[in-house]
């Protein structure tokens, strides 16, 4: 099973965990890290510590590319080849991740997550009556 860390601004990461617990049920081996009150190095340390507590490898989800959370995670990647980083986290990709993390290898899981993310933002039409 591939663990994950959700690194987001403010309380967003914890809120995702709470929402997942309501939709999917108990979620294990997923942690949330906030940038709240943390400088760059402290945030990198917090993400690294969270990854280490889950075995050192896994998927890191961040809220958006270019923000302090993604920047801190990107800085960790060179020394952590077993970590994959995905920006633009949302509930559909987290649900996809949870549903497939036991059955897919890392490359296939990451591809599926990215595809799900691309497909998850849509304009919805009125239902056909």
């Amino acid at each position: 099973m591939i663990p994950a860390v959700i690194v987001c601004h403010g309380a967003l990461g914890e809120a995702y965990l709470e929402a997942l617990a309501g939709i999917y049920g108990e979620v294990s081996d997923v942690a949330a890290v906030t940038n709240e009150g943390l400088g760059t190095e402290d945030l990198e340390s917090a993400v690294a510590g969270s990854l280490d507590s889950l075995g050192g490898g896994g998927i890191v989800f961040t809220d958006y590319f270019g923000g302090s959370c993604a920047n801190a995670c990107l800085a960790l990647l060179p020394e952590r080849p077993a970590v994959r980083l995905i920006s633009g986290v949302n509930l559909p990709v987290l649900l996809y991740y949870l549903a497939h993390r036991n059955e897919l290898g890392m490359d296939e899981l990451v591809r599926g997550i990215v595809n799900r993310g691309h497909n998850s933002i849509r304009e919805l039409s009125p239902p056909v009556l």
Partner: protein
């Protein structure tokens, strides 16, 4: 078969929480007073998104059960009406019921007097009523109400 109960019918917990535990090919939604066409269309769209067929029926018009079914009622009244229409189920699994001001039976289940009456009738008929939010958590059998 088991009958599940959630007043929201098809929503995230059903699709992702319960949907992951079994290969669901068809959702059968039972409503005491079937919703308007817009609500029905919304549920149909949600089922399509999950790759499953959807049947929405009044208790007296329910189809025969089939492999890969997930049966879901929108309240105790619909569950009781289904039973009284002759459709037998082993358990009634209460996933969610949110009646404002209702008697709290579980974390996500609050029932009003009409719900309680229907649940009592089902218990008297021998149906095991069980509180269970997710398939992999321990269910709690409702004591006699």
């Amino acid at each position: 078969m088991d009958l599940h109960l959630d007043d929201r019918l098809l929503h995230g917990r059903i699709l992702h929480g319960w949907g992951r535990s079994a290969s669901i090919r068809r959702y059968v939604l039972i409503a005491a007073a079937p919703g308007g066409s817009a609500r029905a269309a919304v549920h149909a769209a949600a089922a399509r998104e999950a790759g499953a067929e959807l049947v929405q029926a009044a208790p007296g018009d329910a189809p025969p059960p089939a492999d890969g079914d997930f049966w879901l009622a929108d309240g105790p009244a619909a569950a009781l009406a289904l039973w009284r229409a002759g459709r037998r189920y082993r358990r009634l699994i209460l996933v969610g019921l949110r009646r404002p001001g209702g008697r709290r039976l579980g974390a996500d289940v609050a029932a009003d007097e009409a719900d309680l009456d229907a649940l009592r009738a089902l218990q008297a008929a021998g149906v095991r009523c069980e509180l269970r939010r997710f398939p992999d958590e321990a269910g709690e059998t409702l004591p006699p109400l």
